[in-house]
């Protein structure tokens, strides 16, 4: 990504030292212009941010939130040993309150996993009985061998044979979609892929955007996975929005569940019909139209993030419509124009916000 360095602005005049400014002649010598007295620090109260009511909940590290002992401290806050019962902020962010619990949501941070989150990850390391998966969190997540579906859908204990064949399921660099099953004490996540919705990813492209708590980025929502029609002759596309800010856009492939439905087979033996194909790393053929629409969709996601919008199903669908219209407006060969960076991205987001 490019480095952006803005031209310098007029900075506000630094506040003058508390001492009388007229006495700044050199005769004031040793007591200088500063105060080293041991008086308690005059911390700022939370409501001197600005007069705008919108900004009253904006705090920065070291801001006093409340000296009242009735509140409990949550994430993003701390109680210094020197001031018991006094809650200070440790992050730049927005205060949120749940009953008596006060926490600070950071303006931006890494992804913090929570049980039940849908995440897209990449295998970093293969160990004897588990994989280590990068999910954009502070530590690598672990995916135990026992938490995946075996090809063929057999339900049995994992044996040494499986351990020896661990790379036939996932190997380094593979992308997968999984769910957070539990959390370790230190916040590291344990994943599972024991559903037909989860598993290895192929036939598509990967986009990393900032995570859920980053303001702009993927937000937790009702639907994180959906299938949409590609316009301009593109086929169906699947979109997976990982809560961790990893996005997967792929060509839609009819799932086994659909096939079974057509064959009028029961849902109970669905698991048994998981073919060996689920762990294939071979891409299917993707036609040019679908590829182009997938690239356009990626452009929409990146443009949304760059311009500080939330990334969810509604925004992406509307953004995609807008992008298609923009491409058509470009006229000749416009359909081919999938570029949505820079000014075109801004135009897209302006169009979205204008509605």
């Amino acid at each position: 990504m490019p480095i952006t360095i803005l031209p310098p602005k007029q900075t506000p005049q630094p506040s003058l030292p508390p001492h009388d400014i007229d006495s700044d002649s050199d005769s004031s010598s040793s007591n200088g212009g500063a105060d080293l007295s041991l008086s308690p620090p005059s911390r700022k109260s939370h409501n001197n941010n600005n007069n705008n009511p919108l900004f009253t909940n904006l705090v920065t590290p070291g801001t006093l939130i409340t000296p009242d002992p009735q509140w409990m401290r949550g994430h993003g806050t701390y109680i210094p040993p020197s001031h018991p019962h006094t809650i200070f902020s440790s992050l730049a962010g927005i205060t949120t309150r749940t009953n008596k619990l006060i926490s600070v949501t950071p303006l931006r941070s890494r992804y913090t996993p929570e049980v039940g989150d849908l995440v897209v990850g990449r295998i970093i390391e293969v160990q004897a009985k588990r994989w280590k998966v990068d999910i954009n969190s502070t530590t690598l997540a672990s995916l135990p061998l026992s938490a995946i579906n075996l090809p063929g859908g057999i339900l049995r204990k994992r044996t040494e044979t499986d351990e020896l064949q661990i790379r036939t399921f996932f190997s380094e660099g593979d992308l997968l979609v999984a769910e957070v099953q539990s959390l370790f004490q230190d916040g590291a996540a344990v994943l599972h892929t024991r559903s037909l919705k989860y598993g290895k990813l192929r036939n598509g492209l990967f986009v990393a955007v900032s995570g859920q708590s980053g303001g702009s980025g993927v937000v937790r929502s009702r639907r994180q996975v959906w299938t949409m029609e590609g316009r301009n002759g593109g086929g169906k596309m699947d979109v997976i929005l990982g809560v961790n800010g990893y996005v997967w856009i792929s060509k839609h492939v009819e799932t086994i569940a659909k096939e079974l439905e057509q064959k009028h087979m029961g849902i109970t033996n669905m698991e048994e019909n998981v073919s060996a194909g689920v762990y294939s790393s071979q891409n299917d053929g993707i036609d040019g139209g679908t590829m182009r629409e997938m690239a356009r969709l990626r452009g929409v996601v990146v443009a949304l993030v760059e311009n500080g919008c939330r990334v969810d199903e509604d925004m992406i669908l509307r953004g995609y419509e807008e992008a298609c219209e923009m491409a058509l407006m470009m006229g000749e060969g416009g359909v081919e124009d999938v570029y949505l960076g820079g000014e075109r991205g801004e135009e897209l987001v302006r169009g979205l916000r204008g509605r």
Partner: protein
């Protein structure tokens, strides 16, 4: 050209036209690099520094092998309970007036790395991220004195941008004295925020404090100075740090306000709404 400090007492102005208690122009920006977890760019006068923070994240595979050679490791290394703070400083060859190539093992750079790592490890809440690593890379683009102070300020901004919890801002600035050690002048006055010329000629120190308290978290003095002058210099330095904190705080708040106005973050439910239920 040697710095003529004889005029300092008379004209009350320094070579660059400042008074004894004035900071240079500070310009700061955060979120300069979209791909990084946290980033900042800071100018203190003509000292220009860029900072990128990666993490907290899983430590790289070369853990243990490199040991102390891989920059300053603050806190305890290894599989410790706390996150490890690793600082890496790169000083560009073109950053100073005389083009100098500094290798990776340059002692002065290593010293600054470990000072910075220890300072930040003490202030960041590293206990929240066990078994992980916070990588701070700093690039010096231009040098004009107060380099360590600029590095500390830039690193603080980038850590705030990365959303790493910390006790308070760590802000730093330099202070000096108007006459040299050799002059043995008892009546020498303190100076705030030394530039390169002053730093070469006059005794000076770098002081970093925590927030707007008087708690000093780092104090580096590399020149000879009479102990009687130290108190005045320290007092001026600590006061400068508070001014710097205000400026940095404005930068962070401006970014937060921009994000609220754009609607990328919620307004939040705060203490003002608290008596509703």
């Amino acid at each position: 050209m040697p710095l003529d400090t004889s005029t300092y007492g008379l004209a009350l102005l320094r070579v660059d036209g400042r008074r004894w208690n004035e900071l240079r122009r500070i310009h700061a920006q955060i979120r300069t690099q979209a791909a990084a977890d946290g980033s900042s760019y800071l100018e203190m006068g003509h000292t220009k520094v860029m900072c990128v923070v990666t993490g907290p994240s899983e430590p790289g595979p070369r853990r243990g092998a490199a040991g102390g050679a891989a920059g300053g490791g603050g806190g305890a290394g290894g599989q410790s309970k706390d996150a490890e703070v690793v600082v890496n400083i790169v000083i560009a060859g073109f950053s100073s007036v005389d083009r100098k190539r500094r290798g990776r093992g340059d002692k002065r750079t290593l010293e600054m790395q470990s000072t910075l790592a220890n300072t930040l490890a003490a202030t960041l809440h590293t206990h929240l991220f066990p078994h992980s690593q916070i990588n701070i890379s700093l690039h010096v683009l231009s040098q004009d004195g107060s380099l360590l102070a600029a590095l500390i300020n830039a690193a603080t901004l980038a850590c705030v941008d990365a959303g790493i919890p910390m006790t308070d801002y760590v802000t730093a600035c330099t202070a000096g004295s108007t006459s040299t050690y050799a002059a043995n002048d008892e009546g020498a006055d303190p100076l705030l925020d030394l530039n390169h010329q002053e730093e070469q000629e006059l005794p000076g120190l770098t002081v970093a404090t925590l927030g707007d308290s008087d708690r000093v978290v780092a104090l580096v003095c590399e020149s000879r100075v009479q102990i009687s002058r130290l108190e005045g210099m320290l007092a001026v330095g600590v006061d400068g740090c508070k001014q710097v904190r205000e400026i940095l705080d404005q930068v962070i708040k401006a970014q937060g306000q921009k994000m609220i106005l754009e609607g990328t973050v919620d307004k939040g439910t705060g203490l003002n709404d608290m008596d509703l239920d």
